[in-house]
Amino acid sequence: MGKKVLKNYDFVLLATIVAIALFGLLLVGSSTVSGQVTVRGLFSSSFFLRQLLWIVSGLGGMFVISLIDYNEWKRFALPIYLFNLALLVLVLFKGASAGGAQRWLPMGFFNLQPSELAKVFIIITLSTVLAKEGRSLDRWQDLLLPFAHVALPMVIIFKQPDLGTSLVFAAITVSILFVAGMRWLHLGVLSLGGLFFSVIAYLFLLEDYQKSRLLIFRDPWQDPTGKGWQIIQSKVAVGSGQLWGRGLFQGTQNQLDFLPVKHTDFIFSVLGEELGFVGAAIFLLVYLFMIWQILKVAMVAKDNFGRFICVGVAAVFSFQLLVNVGMTISIMPVTGIPLPLVSYGGSSFMATMLALGLVLSVAAHKDTSLF
């Protein structure tokens, strides 16, 4: 630690993260303060204040975690895994429900969403499993243990039900296995199998409300005030932003409450409406830059454990970016997945900070002798 850590510290990634988080804070402010927006007005929004609190404490936590050698976590892999399962089981029985799903544990001043933390935990424990010396992924049976490892928490989340987050688990697993050396043949077969399973799952495992919610995005006009409402209004918001946007705090879809859950899942609609295509494009490119930077850390990591962590985190960002932004413009179904770092919400933000802390730690503890 010490000198070497600071010398290797990825300040570019850190700056990018801080910039995106502060930008998200501004959007949370815009989507929760109505009328003439002033600095005082922003600070009167409890959402804005809380998000500010998450950002300050989250960045602090991230920085602390980044200074600790990530390899320390390996030792606690089993307790973390069990703790993860315990939280997920607890939420099944004690969780607060909203929108037909039980996802939150009331924690007094905020609601903990264990499935958000579960993403980070599974990245740590799966990476631990796959980074074991001498593990090979050449044979079919080699895939069994990692799959079983992920399947257990994933099924519980699916039962909440939280289809979106369980799909994030799939993205994490496939990405890490891919980098860990899974064979192309296996990947191909599994992809086909996954596709087949999806169809089966759609037909037999999903509740009706999940089915209609999944497919309504193809034709939101069949229920424009019910299930299609948020999809339509979101697309109207994004589209009406045109090239330059209506101006920050000036979006009428946003300010007049036509946009639903705009500070959380549909925060990107506010961005699209108020800052237009130019704003959206700049944001997406900065976001892409962050993902590339995380994957760059994966390349220079000193060991596979660190590498897999970075790959898992990059997978979460990429997948959620696609599904969340895609949802606001009707090219993806509405699955209730937030936009990491930008959407309002404590659990999501803290989990994201934890994950990015690990990535920064991997960067800080890379083996410079290799280069």
Partner: protein
């Protein structure tokens, strides 16, 4: 190790691909389709509300309100994006208003200005509005606006002339012709609403309504009342006492011969203008041809005018030297003139008579003789001088449309005279000298009552064709006079005063007895009885009073009224009222 680097690079490309897909779609929606989505966003947030301008009122010369407005509720639907919500609103509205859902649907479809709510029902009473307000939550987009509603407080008074509205727009009568003045300008306010359909902030834009302008007519309400009542009473009497079963219709015009101001114009049967097209049909009326029966007999009807035409024949013959004031023609009661068998009423023979006497006794022999001397061209020349020429197709002999010159009501709601000669020529019929003879005592050609009023006025004033008019003054809501119409001279003919005097003398003689006894002044007049094949004759009376200093010209027409002198009773009622004799 190398393999891992490669695979991480592949993941980077996947991430880049994701961003590329998103950017492509965003470009499509925001840049290419952006304007359409912005329109939809505006539709979301703006409501255009119309503030209806009260329509201009119509007054008689003495200030009686003929057309007015009362506040009424109008139910409208604001455009609702969501078809399901829209359908719900339509269904609930249809139910509560007792309308067909389809009808509401059609109205919505016809509204191409989505910012403005579509009017679903007008004239909704307060109780229904209260019911709608209670069910407001079930009717997304409901807008209740106050819409001034047209009423005609005097009901039947001048009903034929006032006209009517469809959807607030004049489509007939004065309401149509003066639409531009009466309509006023609707105001509007544009408000911003939020997702819950509640107004947010001050109206974005608004303009107050400008009320329509008021028309002030030349008609005197009292005289109009007398004309209508008298006409009605006399026709009823003819049916009941004379058994003239077809005597239901007729017309009266009273006009100022020195200006063309119309003082009264009545048509029978009349109707309550407020319920015009729900006619309460008189049970005893045999024919059920509503439109024909209620048609305005003053402007939109024409008939042969019988002996009331004889002043034209007389004046033409005197001025052109085909007869002199002193020449006497032998009247044998019946005679063959130019091959045409001519008979007086009752075949009465009057011996040798001059022109005034011929008018007094209404000799067909005398005027038939003048006609055969002059020929039809000369007669038509004089018809033209009195502004009464026209053809079956409505064209004048010079190719210019001519009617009485009255333009306060659209020309297509008025009839033109029928030129028998032109009609025969046009349709390849034959025209014989005998036709000229019949024409000279008022058969064959057909004229409107308004044209007859003109003609009598010109006899009274010496040949000035004043444009007959009804609208004298237009005022804005604040009372300011916007337009004032002075009398207009359409044509001025220098009739030979001596010839005119001879004709007038005949008219005085013709109106010296009967209905016109016991008057403090002399009256000029002429009865007429015209024939219609297979039907009862039409009764006419034309004239002016006082004889020495004409103040009013009168035309009375009783369709199938039998004898001309019966029309004189209506004229007497008018003279009595106008000169305050009763």
């Amino acid at each position: 190790m190398k393999q891992m680097q490669l695979r991480i690079s592949i993941l980077r490309l996947v991430a880049a691909l994701i961003v590329a897909v998103l950017l492509y779609n965003l470009f499509q929606i925001q840049v290419i389709e952006g304007e359409e989505w912005a329109d939809i966003a505006d539709n979301n947030r703006f409501r255009h509300l119309v503030q209806r301008a009260p329509r201009g009122r119509i007054f008689t010369a003495d200030g009686v309100e003929l057309a007015s407005n009362i506040p009424c509720y109008e139910v409208a639907l604001a455009f609702e994006q969501d078809p399901a919500k829209r359908q719900q609103a339509i269904d609930v509205l249809a139910d509560l208003l007792g309308m067909e859902a389809e009808e509401i649907q059609n109205r919505l479809k016809k509204n191409h200005r989505r910012f403005e709510p579509t009017v679903v029902a007008r004239n909704v009473d307060f109780a229904t509005v209260a019911l709608l307000e209670e069910n407001k939550h079930r009717i997304p987009g409901l807008v209740v606006q106050i819409n001034p509603q047209r009423v005609y407080p005097q009901k039947t008074l001048l009903a034929h002339v006032l006209g009517r509205l469809i959807d607030g727009k004049g489509v007939e009568g004065l309401e149509r012709q003066w639409e531009d003045y009466l309509r006023g300008e609707n105001g509007f306010s544009v408000i911003q609403v939020n997702a819950a359909n509640s107004p947010v902030g001050e109206p974005v834009n608004s303009k107050p309504a400008v009320p329509g302008k008021d028309l002030h007519l030349t008609v005197d309400a009292g005289l109009q009342q007398v004309a209508q009542e008298s006409l009605h009473r006399v026709l009823r009497k003819l049916r009941e006492e004379r058994k003239l079963e077809d005597a239901w219709t007729g017309a009266v015009v009273v006009i100022d011969p020195n200006s063309g101001r119309i003082l009264a114009m009545a048509s029978e049967p009349s109707f309550d203008n407020n319920v015009k097209y729900n006619y309460a049909w008189p049970d005893e009326l045999p024919q059920k041809d509503t439109v024909r029966t209620y048609r305005d007999r003053v402007l939109n009807w024409r008939k042969p005018v019988g002996s009331t035409f004889k002043m034209i024949t007389g004046l033409a013959a005197l001025e052109t030297g085909h007869v002199t004031a002193t020449e006497k023609i032998r009247d044998t009661g019946s005679a063959r003139i130019s091959g045409q068998m001519v008979r007086n009423y009752g075949s009465a023979a009057y011996g040798y008579i001059d022109l005034p006497r011929a008018l007094e006794v209404s000799s067909n022999i005398y005027f038939g003789t003048l006609g055969s001397r002059m020929g039809h061209e000369l007669i038509y020349e004089y018809i033209d001088k009195f502004g009464m020429s026209g053809t079956a197709s409505g064209e004048s002999r010079e190719g210019v449309m001519k009617n009485a010159g009255f333009t306060d009501i659209a020309l297509d709601e008025q009839m033109y005279s029928l030129d028998y000669y032109r009609q025969m020529m046009k349709h390849g019929g034959s025209f014989y000298p005998g036709h000229t003879v019949q024409m000279s005592y008022g058969q064959l050609n057909e004229f409107t009552v308004m044209q007859m009023a003109n003609y009598v006025s010109m006899l009274a004033n010496g040949g000035i064709h004043y444009k007959p008019y009804l609208v004298e003054k237009i005022t804005a809501a604040d009372g300011e006079v916007v337009e004032f119409f002075e009398p207009v001279i359409l044509a001025q003919h220098e009739f030979d005063p001596k010839a005119l005097d001879v004709v007038r003398k005949g008219m005085r003689l013709a109106a010296s007895g009967g209905q016109f006894r016991n008057l403090p002044f002399a009256v000029a007049g002429k009865t007429g009885t015209s024939e219609e094949a297979g039907k009862e004759n039409h009764a006419w009376w034309v004239g002016y009073a006082p004889y020495d200093n004409p103040e009013i010209a009168i035309v009375v027409f009783l369709e199938h009224g039998g004898l001309g002198l019966r029309a004189a009773e209506v004229a007497r009622d008018i003279i009595d009222y106008y000169f305050g004799l009763k």
